[in-house]
Amino acid sequence: MKQKKIYLDYAATTPLALEVLREMLPYLKKDFGNPSSIHTLGQIAQEGLDKARERVANFLNCSISEIFFTGSATEANNLAIFGLIKSSQKRGVKPHIITTQIEHHAVLEPCKELKKQGVEITYLEVNKEGLVKISALEKAIKENTVLVSIIYANNEIGTIQPIVEIGKLLQITNSKLKTKIYFHTDAVQAVNYLDCDVEKLGVDLLTLSAHKIYGPKGVGALYIKQGSPISPLIYGGGHESGLRSGTENVAGIAGLGKAIEEIEKSKKDIKRIEKLRNKLIDNILKNIPKAKLNGSREHRLANNVNVSIPGAEGESMVIALDQKGIAVSTGSACSSRSLKPSHVLLALGLLPKEAHGSLRFSLGKYTQEEDINKVLAVLPKIVQRLRKISPFK
């Protein structure tokens, strides 16, 4: 008998929603035109792009001219960071960036690369819940600070940063400065669950991804507030107002537009997911000795569970769960070349044995209570078995 697959890795990627696929299909079939073409087929494709741009702009409460489609959220982060730094360097500034220790690699690696090129970087520490201290940010600001990039909700531990407060602080700071500090947030994990109104958030740049919101892979978008000086990274035919050349992925972008529109409709589902999340957390902590929740209980994405289970190694737990048809992920790095556990868990101050014994469950709109019950039925046995094999119990 084939067992039912239980997918609890929505933070890695989400399945494509049927209504999104329906929106995409015409552009993969009969409406295949190039949006740059003048003829009808081209214009149909152009309309598809326009519609998607409007949907994304509506969602973010911004103007359509402030939305730029990219090939991924990673690319959008790169465009925000490199694009802004490039333009400030053109003005002869030696730029300084403030970010955090718990960013996604798509922000950390561009910063690392820029450091090699002489850009100053400050990595803000986080407390044991994964929260940035606003006072630390305030202290880190320098005369030459041009960019603050802080992840809205962390992909591993689900901690939600005080983006509104940070936005306000930067607004006050900017009113006293000659050169503006721009504020970027990677909102990839936040879009499904949190308010992404850019006016309320006070951000100048915001990254989002289609495949984390039941859309297709290979599409991201960057919101760029009017007047922000961003230089392109890719040159060519001048697509996306010259900021991102390359014929648009029309079907993918149309999918992103539909996916983001659907989020409004599923807002009432968030409470349900949150309840399931709480059930999962509470019962893991109750039924598995020494298990510990990573991140914040209060400032936490509705769909994220991240626990450390000492004595049982993460990859082993993932594989054992997979054998039971349950897909989750871990911050352990037994399989990575560096053997270095997750930088996010280390930044929380976790010991190696806690970081290697971590599991992340990320829920989504197709998660049912019976899925959570199944996890709660099999996980304690798996942990017990692995602890029996392990020298640490």
Partner: protein, 173 residues
């Protein structure tokens, strides 16, 4: 051999039901290798006795492993293979044998088989040392390397938790 993802069915069998798992009471030698920092720890216990010809053999062998499924599977296989072997035979053991029995391992997991052999060598080293007997050169040298690696890993961990640009005080209360 039939594969499920990058692993053979054999790997899963040993992961699911590992052989020779656990501790030996009053072992004659213990080998502790790997490091929790890297997420792989293997402890191997041996009990020595003499066979009919008076040769020393590994009468019993058990393991405790914290690590991925490849680490657990290689621990299980090596203990199977070594049980009943003479010390000389154990010292000459080739890790490829473990890999072959498992029907291969993904390249990134081959280090697990190195870990398993090191645990065995360390256990024999421990036994000979306790017996105050001469330790073969090869064994002595490998022991030295492993000790050195241990120190390097601990240093590395300190680096991981300390990013130069941060004003970080570690291990939050």
């Amino acid at each position: 051999m039939k594969k499920i993802g990058p692993y053979t069915k054999k790997v899963f069998e040993h992961f699911q039901n590992p052989h020779n798992m656990g501790k030996i009471k009053n072992p004659d030698g213990v080998g502790k290798v790997g490091n929790i920092v890297c997420g792989d720890v293997m402890w191997l216990y041996i009990k020595i006795s003499k066979d009919k010809k008076g040769k020393e053999i590994i009468k019993d062998i058990k393991f405790e492993t914290y690590g991925c499924l490849a680490a657990i599977a290689t621990s299980s296989v090596i203990t199977d293979l070594i049980k009943g072997k003479t010390i000389e035979e154990a010292l000459e053991f080739n890790r490829q044998e473990v890999v072959d029995i498992l029907g291969g391992l993904p390249p990134i997991k081959l280090h697990c088989s190195v870990l398993a052999v090191d645990a065995l060598l360390e256990a024999i080293h421990d036994y000979l040392k306790k017996q105050k007997r001469p330790i073969p050169k090869k064994l002595r040298e490998r022991h030295k390397i492993l000790e050195k690696e241990k120190k390097e890993i601990e240093k590395k961990y300190k680096e991981w938790t300390k990013t130069e640009e941060t004003l970080h005080e570690k291990r939050k209360k």
